[in-house]
Symmetry: C2
């Protein structure tokens, strides 16, 4: 019988804290919910919250951060071919792979409840920071595959726009929802075709 854990066992988890936070955000909006509130709801101390999340707004982006990491992993599987057009298709494939791992029942809270939360600068800013990181991952991949830097950047931003649109449609679909990948493919197809034309 091999113990798999050394040290004191955790009494909490990111999921518990995230759940507590989302409950409270719905009850009293994001700005009116303090870290103390969240920690108390989850049954831990305020300092413990910061053992799990760097900032308050980070509870929002667990799924997006996972997807971003998964995308980086997917893109690394594609070894450089020196062909920008191939890179575009690889980028599409990687995005769709990541999107397809998000089933119809895993829509992030941030997408479905954004109206109810109260709009604050830090929440918006935390989203934009992640969009910027996503754009950088895509642009770096394209550059690695011999796309000129300015074109790589423009393409990456256009793909970001398509991805944001797709995510919004995904969230809005309600009971008729299917996988994110189909929305994403529809949104990104004109972008990829347009830039492929410019690259050949």
């Amino acid at each position: 019988m091999a113990p798999t854990h050394r040290g004191r066992p955790p009494t909490s988890s990111r999921e518990m804290l995230q759940d507590a936070a989302f409950e409270l955000f719905l009850e009293k909006s994001y700005p009116k919910t303090t870290i103390d509130n969240i920690a108390q709801r989850a049954g831990v101390s305020r300092a413990t919250f910061f053992n799990y999340f760097p900032t308050k707004s980070d509870v929002f982006w667990v799924e997006l951060d996972e997807a971003l990491e998964a995308l980086s992993v997917e893109l690394r599987q594609h070894s450089p071919t020196g062909s920008p057009a191939h890179a575009l298709e690889a980028l599409r494939a990687s995005l769709l792979t990541v999107a397809s791992s998000m089933g119809a029942d895993r829509v992030p809270f941030a997408l479905t409840q954004s109206d109810l939360l109260g709009n604050t600068g830090d929440l918006q800013a935390s989203a934009l920071t992640r969009f910027s990181a996503l754009t950088a991952v895509m642009a770096n991949f394209l550059e690695l595959h011999r796309t000129p830097p300015a074109t790589a950047r423009t393409t990456a931003y256009a793909c970001l726009a398509a991805a944001v649109s797709a995510a919004q449609q995904w969230a809005d679909a309600g009971t008729t929802r299917h996988g994110l990948d189909s929305y994403l493919n529809a949104a990104i197809d004109p972008v990829i075709r347009g830039f492929r034309g410019a690259l050949t």
Copy 2:
């Protein structure tokens, strides 16, 4: 002799506070500079700083905020024609008009000294928020001119990417610098031509 001002005269201005802030950022980096430091350097109280700027990071973006406002004004001069392709050209023209009003000697501090400032999340986030606002202005304009919403958004993001690239080249040009509009036109031309192809 008609007095033009009623009430107590200001002892400070946005420019004074901005100058004080930039001096201090260079001396000790952005994160290490407090609002107290800035206010003291400018000879006013800390509370007075907030009469001039909403947040610490806003001192960075005076020029960009002006440009964003100027762009909105320019775009409003173009009455709707129902032609997305015309809208693209109007957008380009408006962007270039705003860019040409920034002579070679008005490069924002944020562009030329970004290395020395110390990278913090709030600074990056404040920039991204403005980029997002710029994108929204452009996308709304395109939609007003009958561009489908998803295409408007994608185009706007691609224009943003081009504009960011142009601004960076502008800042990097040093003593050989000319007006921002020439860099912007070079960067944005392939984007406009690409999307015009998709719209016709």
